[in-house]
Amino acid sequence: MRRMFVLTLLVVLVAGSAFAQAKFPVRQINIVVGASAGGTSDTVTRFLAKDVEAQLGVPVVVTDKPGGSCSVAFEYMASQRPDGYHLMYMPVESAMVKALGFTQLEPKSVRFFAHAMFLPATVTVNAKSPWKTFGDLIAYAKANPGKVTVGNSGTGSIWHFAAVGIEQACGVSFNHVPFDGGAAAATAVMGGHVDVATVAPGEVLAGVKSGDLRVLAIVDTKRSPLYPDVPCFKELGYDVKILAWGAFAAPAGTPDNVVAVLEAAFAKAIQSQGFKDLCMKYGLTPGYMGAKDAQAFAESQAKWYQEEIPKFNLK
């Protein structure tokens, strides 16, 4: 009798789990964002979550766990059960945090299932500055090494590396000044406290429209829809690949069939017209990639940062 009971139980359990695997999702999906509410990461995730919610027919809830350039959220997500109900918005920082010594996790530790967008840096100066073109700025910087002050969004942040990438590509040296976020750096350029800011297109938009700021270049292979008249780095003959980006991932060990469902839903949301319009407003470049490509891209980014970051001798 007892054997029968145990057997039945086993059968039910196995069948039950097989059934559960076959049907996904049946309950609420959680997406964690490693940044504060109201920022780009949060906005993008909430927008896509709404779309995915409608497609999958279960609630998709976005929670913000800011801290340590996304490493708090990263550690939280990686420790969750790999059942597809715990996801995370993965910013470029997720490929940097291991090299920065914030956490042991890297893109290899999780399963990417969709890549959403890219975000290039701008080279922005005060409208009153004598530099009318990117060439003017580089000519001055070459003649005066270390004189040009460049504001970024924090030491070890993506916009800091963007400025370092420009230095390397153009053979100049800047005086890097970290601020608390890109908007603060843009404000400092507006007030004339630093010469240049290498921050996101959306962060300097108000200043450009008011005539206080001038964008000299977009650090990307194509122009930004927000500044169609500003040349991109490729046109200027430079090759800098330091971009911010955003993707989505689930814990390692999430089953293939679950990943396939998520991949399909996010693919549809990311390629929708609504998301394209959102990107346009915030100066983002939509760039969908499927699970395989997103994983490969994130890992190649991590490899690059793990080689480059130690060279900066950060503690």
């Binding site: 504060s36 509410a37 109201g38 920022g39 906005t43 909430r46 929670t63 913000d64 766990k65 800011p66 801290g67 340590g68 350039s69 490493s71 708090v72 990263f74 550690e75 920065l100 010594g101 914030f102 956490t103 002050t149 924090g154 030491t155 070890g156 005086n175 000044v177 970290p178 601020f179 608390d180 908007a183 603060a184 843009a186 404000t187 400092a188 507006m190 007030g191 004339g192 406290h193 630093v194 959306g202 938009l205 108000a206 200043g207 429209k209 008011s210 005539g211 206080d212 407003k281 915030y282 950060l314 503690k315």
Partner: protein
């Protein structure tokens, strides 16, 4: 003409409804310790995207103003600031409650908060562009000196013993160094925990220090017989007389000016503004000894200050597209979502919308005035609840609030430890204000001092060539030596 239209627009039934919804939910969010104005606006922002811009903004502006006002309610009643902006309201507000004047204190909070909101809206209408241009002049050097000026308030908020105050104040500075240093990203006291990389979270520290600390202290000192938190609610005096109102006017005028400027400066918000205003008002007051002991002037100044910040912050946001504080940073995101870029061109391209925003700001304050004065009678009833019940409820609120701010358990631990620390400070009769001031301004001072020096390649001359720096440094030095001079003058007079 377009002004009339803007105001009429606010009174459209739908827009007005959302404004009222905003005010009511803001009152709830602000009163609960840990749920800040920033959080309230952030949570409601995605909802506002479903609405028309004027309805969405009516709700957000209602929440913003109302949460800053109602933060003072919990500061006054249970010594726990509902939002960081109401820290200074605990200094005198809670003392008034203990003396039985909670009704009066709550009405002062409402009336002066609304006054602050209205006066700063006027600044927004008349001085938006010059004010925003002035705010841009604040670079790293100016921020550093502003923080230094704020730190001189340590003496003011120290209560009876400046030595004790400075001791805990410097401890606060030390605690502000936890986390990645802002210039070289060097890890300091992070215990290998990623949650500490950004430093100790300020809101849980504040709730613990004031809220939990106060509960522990009451448990420690209470006698079995007492049932409610305060001996008796004296309802007799509920409003200030006109004469008193006039007496408080000069200090409040000064607080409004300070706060509008601090609000306009990006990165400095209501918490800093209200402490600086309170400290400065105490220095200039004829009765500085009353401050911290239930001074009506002290309470009114702290209440007017945190709401006056809103107009300043909105000024920088609307006219430059730069966030003046954390809430306006989110509001910029909402504006962009509606396809509007804040900045001077917004005033030209979307003038009706800018006027609508300002009109909403003004109407929201009037709604708060009515809502506040009618509901102020309800709040003191909280104090009649059995003490033990109240302790549990407040502690629960503190825990939920500390967790909610970043969804992090580390913050609950931080809050609990801060609570024990706050209790020890109370028992040993050390003031908590200087500690909070140190934590609040430590990072601002350190990061901007180092930023300024890295801009000048290590030369300190910038601090003595920038006019703003010179003025602020002079005021700082004068305010530190003034008491000594005053003493000597008095002696000579005798």
């Amino acid at each position: 003409m377009d002004w009339i239209q803007a105001f009429l627009g606010v009174f459209q039934p739908q827009v007005f409804l959302y404004l009222v919804i905003g005010v009511v939910s803001g009152a709830l969010i602000g009163t609960l310790p840990g749920l800040t104005a920033t959080m309230g606006v952030a949570v409601l922002t995605p909802i506002s995207f479903w609405l028309k811009p004027e309805c969405g903004f009516a709700m957000l502006i209602g929440v913003y103003n109302s949460a800053i006002w109602s933060g003072g309610i919990s500061a006054i009643l249970i010594n726990t600031p509902g939002t960081p902006a109401s820290i200074a309201s605990t200094f005198d507000g809670y003392k008034l409650t203990q003396k039985g004047f909670s009704a009066l204190a709550l009405n002062i909070n409402t009336i002066y908060s609304v006054l602050g909101g209205l006066l700063s809206s006027l600044c927004l209408i008349f001085f938006a562009f010059p004010l925003a241009r002035f705010a841009l002049k604040f670079g790293p050097a100016e921020y550093a000196v502003l923080a230094l000026f704020g730190l001189t308030m340590m003496v003011s908020v120290s209560g009876s013993s400046p030595v004790k105050g400075l001791l805990v104040g410097f401890l606060g500075l030390l605690f502000s160094t936890v986390g990645l240093d802002s210039i070289q990203a060097y890890k300091r006291y992070t215990l290998n925990n990623p949650a500490l990389l950004d430093g100790l979270n300020f809101v849980p520290m504040m709730i613990g220090l004031f809220g939990i600390g106060e509960i522990l202290y009451q448990i420690y000192t209470s006698e079995a017989k007492e049932t409610s938190m305060v001996a008796e609610v004296k309802g007799a005096k509920q409003f200030l007389t006109l004469k008193e109102f006039g007496r408080l006017a000069p200090a409040n005028a000064m607080a409004t000016i300070i706060s509008v400027i601090v609000g306009a400066i990006p990165g400095a918000g209501g918490d800093i503004a209200s402490i600086i205003s309170w400290g400065q008002a105490k220095r200039m007051s004829k009765h500085p000894e009353e401050y911290g002991e239930g001074s009506l002037e002290g309470l009114s100044v702290s209440c007017i200050a945190n709401n006056a910040v809103i107009g300043g912050a909105m000024t920088t946001m609307l006219s430059l597209g730069i966030p003046g504080d954390a809430v306006t940073a989110i509001l910029i995101g909402s504006l962009m979502m509606y396809g509007m870029t804040p900045g001077p061109q917004l005033f030209i391209e979307n003038r009706p919308f800018v006027l609508t925003l300002i009109a909403q700001l003004i109407v929201a304050n009037l709604v708060i005035l009515i809502f506040g004065l009618t509901t102020n009678r309800i709040y003191p009833k909280i104090l009649k609840i059995k003490k033990t019940t109240l302790w549990v409820v407040v502690a629960m609120c503190c825990i939920v609030g500390a967790y909610a701010i970043n969804n992090s358990y580390v913050d609950i631990i931080t809050m609990a430890l801060a609570g024990v620390f706050g209790f020890i400070l109370r028992v040993m009769d050390f003031p908590q204000g200087p500690f909070i001031l140190g934590m609040l301004l430590g990072k601002l001072l350190e990061s901007n001092l180092r930023r300024a020096l890295s801009l000048t390649m290590g030369s300190y001359s910038i601090f003595f060539t920038s006019p703003i720096c010179i003025v602020l440094l002079t005021i700082s030095v004068l305010s530190l030596v003034w008491p000594a001079i005053k003493k000597r003058l008095k002696k000579r007079a005798v």
